[in-house]
């Protein structure tokens, strides 16, 4: 089969690989029909995630058709069209039993602090991902769900992570009616977080970024006010000014470990790699929230420490909430919102690349060329 393969920081290519085999009775083999590159894949691509091995196939956002099932699979059949959560979860450990599917303890021998994720280094279990023609899907009776007939494939693939994570981020904020919500980062997660904040009763939603096409998308797709941090000497002061010097009731950090906006953090984090990325957005979230407010973190961070202003969070009495998204738990309610048009994931898609052009796809997304917000990958396109 053809598969995307990591060759070292900033280098990927397509190679011929063996079609994955059933390795456990509850495995399924899925033929991938549509995949996506997630913003968090860029942390791997940039060499920030420990134990990212040469030869690894990335990709934790994908949908496809079941090609083969293991002997104990009961809920899926060959030929089913399925969407697969980015979390690999057993359904029976202490955490899965409490619907914390992203914190499963039975699928990742390499680490206890993070669960299993497709195509996301050996730190999350060493599973090849879905930017390929086929993928092994463990615990087929737990994770995958048949794609409803009415659902568009591009909505389905985005519901496997980015859209679900945006919706989850708004929930972590515990938004109350009338709250002012600030979303840091107008990428796919931030855009859905902004849309979701309205569903939960926000009175104002302000999206912060510096890329014009993304800010425009925040205005048109998410009906949000926008703030271009490049236009302000100090974005935190501007946030205070715009919130009557209170700060935001809720800040959703949807940028993650490679945020722009602070030279020192950029140099020490993403360039010299002296810390686990650049926590600019996280510090803005802490500074921009009102005292007693809530900071929701759904931007991706790795296991290496970051220079975070924890003292300010303490002194302001903030509630910090965060997790990887337990995707499957989000789906029934999200399906309703997508069907009703309240959430519009596929409106974020800007680029569609054949798998054979994967190196260009990563470069365009990483360098944010051509107004790229969300690139999809077509495994079988010529």
């Amino acid at each position: 089969m053809r598969a995307m393969v990591y060759r070292g920081p900033y280098k990927v290519r397509v190679e011929e690989k063996d079609v994955p085999a059933v390795e456990h009775p509850n495995d399924a083999i899925v033929r991938v029909t549509l995949a996506a590159i997630c913003g968090s894949d860029l942390h791997l691509y940039h060499g920030l995630m420990p134990d990212t091995r040469v030869g690894h196939t990335f990709g934790h956002e994908f949908i496809g058709v079941v090609e083969q099932v293991g002997s104990s699979v009961q809920n899926l059949q060959v030929g089913d069209r399925v969407m697969v959560p980015f979390n690999i979860s057993c359904g029976s450990c202490w955490f899965c039993a409490r619907e914390l599917y992203s914190n499963c303890h039975n699928v990742n021998p390499n680490a206890t602090a993070v669960g299993g994720i497709y195509g996301y280094s050996h730190t999350t279990g060493g599973y090849d991902g879905g930017q390929a023609q086929y993928v092994r899907v463990p615990f087929a009776d737990v994770g995958p769900v048949r794609i409803p007939d009415w659902m568009h494939d591009e909505d389905a693939v985005l519901l496997t992570d980015a859209a679900a994570t945006g919706y989850f981020g708004a929930q972590l904020g515990e938004i109350a009616e009338g709250d002012t919500v600030v979303v840091l980062g107008a990428g796919p997660v931030g855009l859905i977080a902004a849309q979701s904040s309205w569903l939960m009763g926000a009175g104002r939603v302000i999206v912060v970024d510096h890329l014009q096409e993304r800010l425009e998308k925040a205005r048109t797709m998410a009906h949000a006010e926008t703030l271009d941090y490049d236009e302000h000497d100090d974005v935190v002061v501007e946030l205070k000014r715009q919130t009557d010097f209170l700060g935001a009731d809720v800040v959703i950090e949807a940028a993650g470990a490679e945020a722009d906006g602070n030279l020192l953090q950029q140099v020490t984090g993403t360039k010299l790699k002296l810390q686990g990325g650049s926590p600019v957005a996280l510090n803005w979230a802490i500074d921009g929230a009102r005292k007693g407010g809530t900071v929701s973190v759904v931007g991706a961070y790795g296991p290496i420490p970051n220079a975070v202003k924890f003292g300010d969070a303490l002194n302001k009495g903030l509630t910090l909430r965060m997790n990887q998204t337990p995707v499957k738990r989000q789906w029934p309610r999200m399906f309703e919102h997508v069907r009703n048009g309240h959430l519009t994931p596929r409106a974020m898609v800007t680029h569609r690349f054949p798998l054979e052009h994967i190196a260009e796809a990563y470069h365009v997304f990483s360098a944010k060329l051509d107004g790229c917000i969300k690139p999809l990958v077509l495994p079988d396109a010529a």
Partner: protein
């Protein structure tokens, strides 16, 4: 009501909202659909519902371990299911094995060793590729051709993250200069030691 000239943070009263419920409902599709926390899927955070996960086992059957599988020493055992992509091999494998065997996830040494393993893996794979029919190609593998097909210059115009800084040469050349200095110093000391 206190003086409206004084910002909210300094007074007791909450200012009236900019828009009413009705105005927000008219403007925003689905506004308030999840206003009740009970409608939010992740509320409450812990929701004990073992019968709904799809699992039909108390503990999963164990996946065969065809070769020794590295694991975090914070785990009681190798988890019943695990990835089998890219097993440990060579020098990078030895470094990674040391990281897993010796240090818990709570130790920075664990993660730094894994990063060192990643760099050794990348360089050794790069060198090995030149002995194959499919050597690494920095043009095709970096996707840099997209600079010409997807508006490299146009896309960066005016962007703050695309500006160069005075520190950039230091960042790019610094590690090479430091490495050369360390090598030079080491070689000089070795030569002196051998002469005496």
């Amino acid at each position: 009501m206190t003086d409206p000239e004084i910002p909210s943070a300094y007074v007791r009263d909450k200012r009236p909202p900019r828009e009413t419920r009705e105005q927000l409902r008219a403007r925003i599709p689905g506004w308030g659909a999840d206003l009740d926390p009970a409608d939010r899927p992740s509320h409450p955070r812990l929701h004990y519902a073992p019968g709904t996960t799809g699992a039909h086992w108390d503990f999963p059957e164990r996946q065969p371990e065809r070769q020794p599988r590295e694991r975090s020493i914070e785990h009681a055992f190798v988890t019943p299911v695990f990835g089998t992509a890219q097993p440990l091999r060579g020098v990078s494998g030895a470094i990674r094995r040391l990281a897993y065997r010796r240090f818990s996830e709570g130790r920075l040494a664990h993660w730094l060793l894994l990063i060192v393993g990643d760099r050794v893996d990348a360089w050794s794979s790069h060198l090995r590729s030149f002995a194959t029919l499919h050597p690494d190609n920095p043009v095709t593998e970096t996707g840099v051709r997209a600079e010409f097909t997807h508006g490299g210059l146009r896309s960066r115009r005016g962007r703050s993250d695309a500006r160069h800084h005075v520190l950039d040469p230091v960042i790019v050349a610094g590690p090479w200069v430091a490495g050369a200095a360390v090598t030079y110093t080491g070689v000089r000391r070795l030569v002196r030691a051998l002469r005496h």
